[in-house]
Symmetry: C2
Subunit: 460 residues, 2 copies
């Protein structure tokens, strides 16, 4: 037999039992909130037809899509010319399928294909891996999960407010209390471009001010200068970049700054409506912040945009999303607007780990390990284990005769909080001894007592 050296591809990860339990802790909380607001789960295949993905992420994105080699003899019909044409043209001839790059394009494809069966407004969530042939580095993987919720088929701003509430509930339920939800509106950014005499040129502006956090006001101004902004135009933008103060004063600033921009005023009205709906649903919610420098890069957003930042930790945004006008137009189904949010699972995981927010009892699979000394104890343990399981208690019976020390070590390493001990005395009395592995406390009880008191024993 030839030995293979075991390894995994760079930029991919195994999730062992501990990591998996913690990831599920996060995902279960998020799913529960999604469902509470009426979102339904879907899944799409990991493999998509390459032509479904190509051209949707820009040239750079296309290069990062993993292509799947056609099965069978992929090279049989290729000519000398095909080989010489270079890898880009060649790819299309030897790879029909690819791994999805995100969940948004497959979702749009799903909506377009199932338009007749879907009830609109359609609220869906989707939690699946995506792949990018990016250079791996700390916090950036080639295979990673996205966790998205979108409502499509409605312009209603209630959806924006409900998304804000979902964000609030997710982070509250996870125990992350220091965070801030930044909100802005692309129409405001469009209005600003108009107000400074650059109508229709908000994308340069967006790309630049998106970097405000990283490069500061001076950096943004330098970048805009390079892109052709004059000093007087930059002077007009400065108050925007320096904006401080509370929500009413920002709205006041905008009302005056955008007084001559119809689109800008529409953006202000949308922000105000979302703000009012949020206040109505969750009075005095203090974590929402209007951030006029929020731009969310060059994406397809057309209305509200969101970003969530964790405070007190060094970390980029941990969630983000926004409203778009036309999700499925590229698949031949025009006029499907929507709004969505994406939770950054990996970063949320890192924050929870850093702040010690994973509760211990969620992380063990079995609540109790049944140990024994000999064959007689094993037979007693068999019955006990099954009675515990019949009472819906996650239970393990050590599978083979072993030194008691080894069995305890097993419980300790697997983070099992309780150990049942079966000795001669216990069997004679028809009882068991139960040891709490954390506190070291031990009691003797009947099986009925163990079943009814097990949670108390776990905390004794």
């Amino acid at each position: 037999m030839q030995i293979t050296k075991p390894s995994i591809p760079r930029g991919t990860r195994d999730f062992g039992p501990d990591i998996m339990a913690k990831r599920n802790f996060i995902l279960d909380h998020i799913k529960k909130v999604f469902k509470k607001y009426g979102f339904l789960q879907i899944e799409t295949p990991c493999m998509e037809n390459l032509q479904v993905l190509t051209g949707k992420y820009g040239d750079e994105g296309d290069q990062l899509i993993y292509k799947i080699l056609n099965s069978g003899n992929f090279s049989e019909n290729l000519s000398q010319q095909d080989w010489e044409d270079g890898y880009k043209k060649l790819t299309a001839k030897i790879a029909e399928k690819a791994l999805r790059y995100d969940l948004t394009v497959p979702f749009a494809r799903f909506v377009a294909m199932n338009r007749n069966d879907i009830t609109f407004p359609f609220k869906r969530f989707q939690i699946q891996p995506v792949w990018r042939a990016d250079r791996p580095q700390k916090g950036r993987y080639r295979e990673f999960f996205q966790c998205d919720a979108d409502v499509v088929g409605t312009h209603a701003l209630l959806c924006e407010a409900e998304i804000i509430l979902m964000i609030k509930e997710v982070f509250e339920n996870l125990g992350i209390s220091a965070y801030c939800i930044k909100i802005n509106n692309r129409k405001i950014l469009q209005g600003i471009a108009e107000a400074i005499g650059k109508p229709g040129q908000e994308s340069v502006l967006c790309v630049a001010i998106d970097k405000l956090d990283k490069i500061g006001i001076e950096g943004v101004c330098n970048e805009l200068k390079e892109k052709g902004y004059s000093s007087s135009e930059l002077l007009l933008i400065e108050p925007l970049l320096k904006q401080q103060g509370d929500y009413p004063s920002k709205i006041e600033f905008l009302n005056s700054f955008l007084q001559n921009s119809a689109i800008g005023k529409e953006g202000i009205a949308e922000i105000e409506k979302v703000w009012q709906l949020t206040e109505s649903l969750s009075p005095n919610f203090a974590k929402l912040e209007l951030d006029l420098s929020l731009a969310r890069g060059l994406s397809y957003y057309t209305g509200a945009i969101f970003e969530v930042k964790a405070l007190n930790v060094q970390m980029g945004s941990i969630s983000g999303g926004g409203r778009y006008d036309n999700l499925t137009g590229v698949f031949g189904l025009p006029n499907v607007p929507g709004v969505g949010i994406s939770f950054g699972i990996d970063r949320i995981y890192d924050i929870m780990e850093e702040l010690g927010l994973f509760p211990n009892q969620y992380l063990h699979s079995s609540q109790i390990l049944v140990t024994f000394m000999d064959e007689k104890g094993f037979n007693y343990g068999l019955q006990l284990a099954q009675m515990l399981r019949n009472a819906q208690i996650n239970t393990e019976l050590y599978p083979e005769p072993s030194k008691i020390k080894k069995q305890f070590e097993y419980a300790h390493k697997k983070n099992i909080p309780l150990v049942a001990i079966i000795g001669e005395e216990e069997m004679a009395e028809n009882k068991i001894s139960v040891k709490n592995m954390r506190s070291g406390k031990q009691i003797r009880c009947t099986i009925t007592e163990l079943i009814s008191q097990i949670d108390a024993y776990e905390n004794m």
Copy 2:
């Protein structure tokens, strides 16, 4: 904008909200049972290094592995010779990674790589998609899920008995009552090969008798004849193929048939021990059947083998598994025995659908839709929806002013069982009307009553 025709690759599937809810119903039940017996979840990457997979599934299997084209300029270092060498050699030069073909090899790779961190015996479960470049047909997909549980690092036969109990609990909890667990042991098949004078040649035997269901006794005998079995040898096997009667009579038959085979007698002893442990854990469990013609093809099993058949429906096996001696030897970690079970999710789904076993209340995400007539009703509805959600009730508020008929249609199509109606009278009385969408019954109540009685209203 260029329009892309939306499509998905042959042999792959989208899971829309209804299918997804039903799949989750099955998977949630299975996970619960796995956890009850102390199994911990892991996940491995979908992409593996190609060399980890190659050579593990036979030549035919290797051809069915989906390879991932190297990113960037994959063809730049290829010579004319490489192009002419044919696609098999070429593949290794342009594809370093591949999609996993099953969960077993990645699990073995995981155990070998993490040997120092794993607590043995290691009980893991894993539910993830796998890919095979097979010809798609009814019930056979190119992307499908496997749902596996294995215990590795112990020879203890308790594990076999616990697997039988897990199978029992899964199918009972799902409501599938007509099924049968067939069990056999590879050592018995080895013993039979010895007993008929063909020691070490049990694989021919296994492959042939594995087809008993499909081709009958005559077919099996013909196949064995072709493989060089003489008429007198076939005569010896016949009683085995015709075996009927209960468990004790089969054991009696084996005790006599295998009296001169040490390995055969070991197999009998193992079966008897597993039988006795199962009886001890679950007295009078009548669905276990010793089937001496069960062989499970050419796989790597070395001890117990299992297969679960649904009765009263036309369907192959819906679960299968067995014991193996050497999971990780190929990755340089010898002597890791184990035993595992795999649940056939797609077939279980089909059976549940055919028998109408999916409970309705599991399949709606929201329990209630809040409808309204006008702006005032919307504002009242906002408060109501949030109070319901705060009481952990999955709630939707129709997002925009619409005809009441349209809102009801939405509830109907989304299978939402209750609709809250907010009219002038309701608001004046500080109440709501609640309509049960199935029975058509309607009552008027306070919000407090709705929250405390919602499950009753769902069944009124």
